[in-house]
């Protein structure tokens, strides 16, 4: 049976690789994406994946300062998604 720290290191590598791959695939959808809705969705998913990468970096380095960074990224991602969608729906962000 694999020892616990080894398994954690392996899981960290797997998670880093899959999140980076997810970012790349989101970029593909961002370029292809036939409609504006798909592009907004790809941007939203990219923000969420970036949040996951920051959390993984926090686990990897064993520090807690990345918590504030991830909270700020989460808030900015939500606000920008809503602003983009609202601009597409109403032609204006604040009426």
């Amino acid at each position: 049976m694999i020892s616990a720290p080894d398994l954690l290191n392996f899981a960290l590598i797997v998670a880093f690789v899959s999140l980076a791959f997810a970012q790349l695939m989101c970029m593909v959808r961002l370029v292809l994406g036939p409609g504006t809705g798909d592009r907004i969705l790809a941007l939203d998913t990219m923000v969420i994946n970036a949040l996951g990468l920051v959390i993984l970096l926090g686990i990897h380095q064993g520090v807690t300062i990345y918590f504030e960074v991830s909270l700020l990224i989460a808030m900015l991602g939500f606000v920008s998604t809503v602003a983009l969608a609202r601009f597409m729906l109403r032609g204006d962000i604040i009426e």
Binding site: L7, A15, G35, A42, I59, L71, A74
Partner: protein, 130 residues
């Protein structure tokens, strides 16, 4: 099997779950061929995928001796906002007719996402895609 070893195993398993969900969600974003189907997959990344990564971070903080609960804040924020942004993107899809047409509403009203205001009618007649 001390609690430290069990906690490290749990953190690793949560990490693997989160990585798997992010991968599956993004494969859905790439592979599906309808705008509304594509919307369905990445919303799971935002809730289950990142939720599992945050659980792993929390478990690992307990193992490494500096226990912290404030990952719950990010989790709560994401769980509240993910459906809202998904709803907004679905509205954009309906507005741009990138999905099956919505059923006719009762009476002579129109859906607000399909309602084009007066000053934009000319743009629509020019064949400008909205």
């Amino acid at each position: 099997m001390t609690p430290e070893i069990l906690g490290t195993y749990a953190a690793a398993i949560f990490l693997l779950i989160g990585a798997g969900f992010s991968l599956v969600g993004v494969l859905g974003l790439i592979k599906f061929n309808d705008a509304m189907s594509r919307l369905h997959a990445p919303t799971k990344v935002g809730t289950v995928g990142i939720g599992a990564l945050l659980l792993a971070s929390m478990t690992y903080s307990f193992v490494s001796g500096v226990p912290s609960f404030h990952e719950f804040l990010i989790m709560a924020f994401l769980f509240v906002t993910a459906p809202i942004s998904a709803n907004f993107i679905a509205k954009v899809n309906i507005h741009q007719s990138h999905c099956e047409p919505v059923p006719e509403p009762a009476g002579d009203e129109t859906w607000s996402v399909l309602d084009i205001s007066e000053e934009d009618r000319e743009l629509e007649e020019d064949g400008e895609p909205r």
